[in-house]
Symmetry: C2
Subunit: 403 residues, 2 copies
C-alpha cells in the first residue's frame, strides 16, 4: 500500500477560503434568500478594460491562422513581455532575463518550494497570506502543528501588529534561510517604508538569508514615497526574490498571469546562481503561461493599459474608503486601505471567527476572520475592497447597523 | 548563506529539449542560412480550429463586460468542463468530481510530486518522457546519478523495447509505490493493449502500487481495439491516476489546458482518499487554469470540436506515414506513428546523439536522440510528426538522402 505523505497530512486546516466558502454554503442552506455580499476573498469584480480584451481577441484569432499560430512558447515567458515588465515595472533596475513569467504567484509559490530543500529554516509574517505557511508545511519544511499556539514548528512567526508598525522585530529573529514578506500587505493592507525595507535587506545581507518578497498589490500604492518593489532598496538584488502579479491590478484573477524575479546576483552558498536552479525547475514543472494571457500582459503595460489598470485600482481604493468611513463611524480603528485593497479592522478583542459568523448570519456579509491569517491576526477582521460599488455601499450600511 | 538544494543539484542534465535547442542555436550560428526543419520537440504546428477560436473570443469579450466578468474560477476547474470531460472522454466511467482541470500535464506532474513523500519508490518506463525522471529527482525521491548506467538510484528503470513489445517485465519489478506508464507512448509511439494494461492493473492491485498513467496522446488512437484510458480496465480506479491534455490533440500547447483524474476510490494505506490530499495541494499551489483556455476546452468537446480535433490529429498521423515511408525505404525499422504522433526508428546500433548531430549538420533536421529518453532509448531516434505538411515532405526527402 502506498503511504500517505506525512507532510500533506500535517497541514490540518482546510485552506482558509475553502473553510469560509463552506460556512457561506451552510448559511445559504439555512437562509436561501439571503443576499450575500462578499468582503471576503480578494477577488476582482470589475470588467477587464477594453484594450486588454482586444489584445486577447487578437491573439486568439492569430492562433486560428497558419501564419499566426504558435505552439509552445518560451518556458520562461515571452521575451517581449519580460522586457516590458523590466522596463515599465522595474525601470530597468532589473534585467529582463531575471524575470520569469508565470500563470500566477500561487503557482510559482509552489515551484519555489522545490528550489529550497526541506531543511530550510523559515520566518513568516504573522498575520500572513495563508499559502506561505501551507506551502511550507506541504513541502516538508516544517514540524508538527502546535495546538497551544496555533503555530507549526520550524517556522518563526514574526508578529506584525499596530504596536510595531506592522514591521517584524528583526533583533529577535533566529538564524533563518527564508523570510516571506508581503508589501502592500495581505491581510493588513499596510505598506512597508523604504527605511523598513532597508533594515530588512541589511539584515538579510549580513546574515545570508533570502527574502521572498510578494508585491502582488504594488499597483495599489498611491503614496509615491512608498517602495513598490524590494529592488528599490540598494543591495536587494543579492538577497531577494520578488513575486509579481497581474491578478489584482488588471482583473486577471481568472485569466492567470504573474511573474517571479530572480536576480542573477542571487547565489546559493556554493556560488550557484539561484537562477540556474530556477530554470531547471521551470523547464520541468511548467510550460509557460497561456499565450493569450501573455498577450494581455503586454497590453496592460502599454501607455493606455497602464492608465486603465490604475483606474481599476483607484476604483477599489475608493471602495476601501467607503468601508473605512462606515467602520470608523462606529469607533473602530482600522488600518490599510489607502495603498492596498484591504482594511484591517481592530475588533476590540472580540474573537474574529465569532464576529465573522455574526456578520455572516445577521448582515449576510462575508468577511475574513483575522485568526485565519495566523495567530497574531486574532482580534482583527479583514475586509476586502474588491466588489461592485453598489454592493460596497450596501455592505457599508449593513456594517454600520451591525457593528 | 542559504544552502543549495541537493535534490536540484542532483539533476545534472539539462532538460533534454533545452539541450537540443542549444545545439540548434549553435548550428544556426555556424550556418545562419540553414533552413532547419524540426522533427524534434512534439510541438503542434496547425492552427486551432475556428470554432474553438470563436469560444476564446467570446469568453474574452465576456470578461470585458460587467455582466460577464468572472474573477477566480473554481480551483478544481469549471464544473461544466469537468462534466464534459467525464462524459465525452470517459463515457462517464469516471465521475466529473474525480476530474481536476489543470494548465497542462507538466504542471500537474509538478504538483503530483507533493502528493507523494520523498521516500516513495518509483518505477519508470525506459525510454520515457524525461520530465518523469526530472520531477522525481528534483523532488528528492531519488538517489545519485550513476554515470555507469545512466540511471538515478531508487528509480527502477523498466526497459521497453521491441523484444518485449514495449511492455515492461512486471515479474522482475521490486516493491514499488509509483509506476509511471505512458500510452500512447512518448517517445516510442506504441500503444499498450487491453491485455497489457490488465496485467499492469492486476499487478498494481496485488502489490498495492499506484499507476500514474499519462494519456496525453489518447486522441491519436485510431485502432478502436486499443484502450484510450486506463479506466477502460476493470479495477483501475482503485490504483490509477491519469493525466490528460488538450495540448497535442487540439493545438493547445501554448494555450495550456489539461486535467488529472484522481478517482475517489484511490486511497492511501491509512484509508485517506488521495483526492482529499490532492484538493489541499491544488488549493495551495494552483488557482485554476485560465478561464479563456477552459472555454476553449468546452468547445473542443462539442460535436463540431470533436470532429475538428480528430481531423487535426489525422493530419499529424498522415505526416507520420510520410516520414515512415521515407525511413522504411532506406531499410530502417520503425515503430509507432499509427496511433501516436511519434516514430521510433531503430538506427542499427549507431549512437543516437551521433545520428542526431549528423542529421542536424548535414540535413538541417532537428530530431530527438533516443538516449535523451533514458538508457534503453540508445540505438533509436524519435521523429515527431508535428509539422507543416510542406516541411514534412521536405524532411522525408532529406532523410532519404542522408540515411
Amino acid at each position: 500500500m502506498v503511504e500517505r505523505n506525512s507532510d500533506i497530512a500535517r497541514y490540518q486546516a482546510d485552506y482558509l477560503f475553502v473553510d469560509i466558502a463552506r460556512r457561506k454554503e451552510r448559511l445559504l442552506q439555512e437562509q436561501p434568500d439571503a443576499k450575500l455580499i462578499s468582503l471576503g476573498i480578494g477577488d476582482t469584480t470589475e470588467p477587464i478594460p477594453d484594450m486588454i480584451i482586444h489584445s486577447f481577441v487578437e491573439q486568439a484569432k492569430q492562433l486560428g491562422t497558419t501564419k499566426g499560430y504558435r505552439g509552445y512558447g518560451a518556458a520562461l515567458g515571452d521575451p517581449s513581455l519580460r522586457k516590458k515588465i523590466a522596463n515599465i515595472l522595474y525601470q530597468d533596475r532589473i534585467s529582463s532575463d531575471d524575470i520569469f513569467i508565470s500563470d500566477g504567484s500561487k503557482c510559482d509559490l509552489g515551484r519555489l518550494q522545490f528550489l529550497f530543500g526541506s531543511h530550510s529554516s523559515l520566518a513568516i509574517q504573522d498575520p500572513s497570506y495563508p499559502a506561505y505557511v501551507a506551502a511550507s508545511v506541504m513541502s516538508g519544511k516544517t514540524g508538527a502543528y502546535n495546538t497551544d499556539n496555533g503555530q507549526y514548528r520550524n517556522i518563526t512567526y514574526l508578529p506584525c501588529r499596530p504596536e510595531n508598525a506592522f514591521f517584524p522585530d528583526l533583533e529577535i529573529l533566529p538564524e533563518t534561510d527564508l523570510i516571506y514578506i508581503c508589501s502592500p500587505n495581505n491581510p493588513t493592507g499596510t505598506v512597508l517604508t523604504h527605511a523598513q525595507l532597508q533594515k530588512l535587506v541589511k539584515m538579510a545581507r549580513e546574515r545570508g538569508a533570502f527574502i521572498i518578497f510578494d508585491s502582488a498589490y504594488a499597483g495599489f500604492i498611491r503614496d509615491s514615497s512608498l517602495p513598490k518593489s524590494i529592488y528599490e532598496i540598494e543591495g536587494a538584488q543579492d538577497v531577494a526574490i520578488e513575486l509579481g502579479s497581474f491578478s489584482k491590478t488588471a482583473g486577471f484573477t481568472g485569466v492567470r498571469l504573474g511573474w517571479t524575479v530572480i536576480p542573477k546576483q542571487l547565489c546559493f552558498d556554493d556560488g550557484t546562481p539561484v537562477q540556474n536552479d530556477w530554470s531547471k525547475i521551470v523547464s520541468t514543472f511548467f510550460n509557460g503561461a497561456s499565450n493569450i494571457a501573455q498577450a494581455g500582459g503586454l497590453a496592460i503595460l502599454s501607455d493606455e493599459g497602464i492608465t486603465a489598470s490604475q483606474s481599476l485600482c483607484d476604483l477599489y481604493l475608493e471602495n476601501a474608503n467607503i468601508l473605512r468611513e462606515a467602520i470608523e463611524s462606529k469607533n473602530y480603528t482600522c488600518f490599510g486601505g489607502e495603498n492596498a485593497p484591504y482594511l484591517w479592522v481592530d475588533i476590540k478583542g472580540e474573537p474574529s471567527w465569532k464576529l465573522f459568523d455574526k456578520l455572516l448570519k445577521k448582515g449576510h456579509l462575508v468577511t475574513t476572520p483575522g485568526a485565519g491569517f495566523g495567530p497574531a491576526g486574532e482580534g482583527f477582521l479583514r475586509l476586502s475592497a474588491f466588489g461592485r460599488r453598489v454592493n460596497i455601499i450596501e455592505a457599508a450600511q449593513r456594517l454600520k447597523e451591525i457593528l
